[in-house]
């Protein structure tokens, strides 16, 4: 499958997942900042309704890769992108694609919970919808209430906040804030959810809640989870991709990658023999 030094075919998601439709297909992706390449010729399939974890040392290109998946990378001045990313076989970098609308289909949750602190819990959930203009048509109040409840329920936060939807987002605990951000991402009904280190600022219990939530969310959404925590990748994902120096070294079913990696570099990284 992988191993061997260059020149070689770039590794891709294994054939073991060939039966699952591919939701996101990354093809020969190059990304960087100015003249500095960060992601190189990366090819990877993300199967539909699976959790793909991306692991690798700091600076390996994990975050840049996920930020290319919903065109957030290009928002940084000097950012460069080449190659393609296909969502349901359509290139998200095609000219006719509106990045704002694209980000409704591919939502994102960040490392640090970032709710609007003074905005109410309810308005936080609706913020994404308002920004994309989705509520402009004058939807009726009960329908909007339904969206709020559904998003908070799917983010496993409803029971904790249903009696204080008017309270400020900033009044919640860190773990609750992160779930509020997940609810905000889910309210726009995305198909793919990108999670960039969603638990790195959370305690183990809040982390377990998010991981439990990921297990439930994968029934509806395709999830890409960037994590520094290998145990988290092992617990929460179906597939794991290992990146090093912007290249995909190996992508395999998580259980196999963590018990029997094919590439020496993966083995060295996950057993802590690096650097």
């Amino acid at each position: 499958m992988i191993a061997a030094p260059a020149p070689r075919a770039p590794p891709t998601t294994t054939a073991a997942d060939a039966t699952t439709p591919v939701k996101l297909a990354v093809r020969a992706l190059d990304a960087g900042f100015g003249a500095t390449p960060v992601v190189r010729q990366l090819t990877l399939d993300v199967p539909e309704r699976r959790v793909l974890a991306i692991i690798g040392p700091s600076g390996c290109g994990k975050s840049t890769l996920v930020r290319c998946l919903n065109r957030m990378h290009e928002l940084v001045p000097g950012a460069t992108v080449g190659g393609s990313v296909l969502l349901d076989d359509h290139d998200i970098y095609a000219r006719d694609v509106d990045p704002v609308l694209l980000r409704r289909r591919i939502g994102m949750v960040f490392q640090k919970p970032n709710p609007f602190p003074t905005m109410s819990i309810r308005e936080n959930v609706l913020a994404g919808l308002r920004l994309t203009g989705a509520l402009r048509g004058g939807r009726k109040q009960p329908a909007i209430d339904g969206i709020v409840e559904q998003a908070l329920t799917r983010a496993a936060l409803w029971d904790e906040v249903k009696d204080r939807l008017a309270a400020a987002g900033g009044s919640l605990s860190g773990g609750q804030q992160q779930r509020l951000c997940i609810a905000r991402a889910l309210a726009v009904e995305p198909e793919v959810l990108l999670m960039d280190e969603p638990c790195s600022a959370l305690d183990p219990i809040a982390t377990a809640r998010i991981e439990d939530l990921i297990h439930v969310l994968r029934e509806r959404y395709t999830i890409v989870l960037v994590t520094h925590n290998m145990q988290q990748a092992a617990r929460a994902s179906d597939l794991t991709a290992f990146l090093l120096h912007g290249e995909l070294i190996e992508c395999a079913p998580t259980e196999r990658l963590f018990t029997q990696p094919s590439d020496r570099r993966t083995e060295d990284y996950i057993t802590g023999k690096f650097g």
Partner: protein, 228 residues
């Protein structure tokens, strides 16, 4: 081979490896002494060998504890995870080998009380073969050499073959000579214990293949999987 960045973790894994090798060395010694006690009808040697089992039992408990500690504190992955899984299984096989050496010694003590049976063809060869298998499998473990471990697995067929030969010969003798019954039964037990040693050496070899390659070759063929 690159070392773990965390040197304390590296030394914990090395210490565990060394303890397994030491434990294996002890049980190999026990089996060698048991075989000698049987061959030379040396009850005293058998008695001193039995005393060694206590250390082996302590090894088992301590290695188990070390594995649990590493699992809890280090959450090993990949090759390290396979090593711990392997160590937990190996320690059980090694401890059982120690027990079987004790069983052999007990029979040696019984047999030394009685007149010697004329030599049984194949029995000495069985004893030598299982000792070689034990030695080779631990060498394979130490060298992380799956091919050498597989060679040990293959040799178990010969042990079984020899066992059946010994069984037939003993049954024939006992049916012809009632006075050989008591000694024959002890000797039958000896053959069975040696055959079991071959099985444990085979288990160890399968564990080494798993450790090195991540492949489970147990019951190969019976589960419809590819042959080992």
């Amino acid at each position: 081979m690159p070392r773990h960045t965390d040197r304390e973790y590296e030394s914990e894994l090395r210490a565990l490896n060394d303890r397994l090798l030491k434990m294996a060395g002890r049980v190999e010694e026990m089996v060698a002494q048991a075989a000698r006690a049987l061959a030379e009808r040396d009850a005293e040697l058998a008695r001193t060998t039995i005393l060694l089992d206590e250390t082996v039992n302590t090894d088992e408990v301590e290695i188990d504890e070390a594995c649990q500690s590493i699992l809890a504190r280090r959450q090993p992955l990949a090759g390290d995870l396979r090593f711990i899984a392997c160590a937990l299984k190996m320690v059980t096989d090694l401890e059982r080998i120690g027990d079987i050496a004790v069983n052999l010694c007990e029979r040696a003590i019984e047999l030394a009380r009685e007149a010697a049976l004329s030599p049984i063809a194949g029995l000495g060869q069985m004893a030598a073969l299982v000792q070689e298998m034990l030695k080779d499998v631990m060498d394979a473990f130490n060298a992380r050499a799956a091919d050498r471990a597989r060679a040990v697995v293959r040799r178990d067929d010969l042990v079984d073959e020899l066992y059946h030969g010994v069984l037939r010969e003993l049954l024939a003798r006992m049916s012809q000579d009632a006075s050989a019954l008591q000694r024959g039964i002890h000797t039958l037990a000896v053959a069975k214990f040696l055959e079991r040693l071959g099985d444990h050496a085979t288990n160890l070899a399968e564990e080494v293949v798993f450790l090195v390659e991540g492949k489970d070759i147990r019951h190969a063929g019976k589960r419809g999987g590819p042959p080992a």
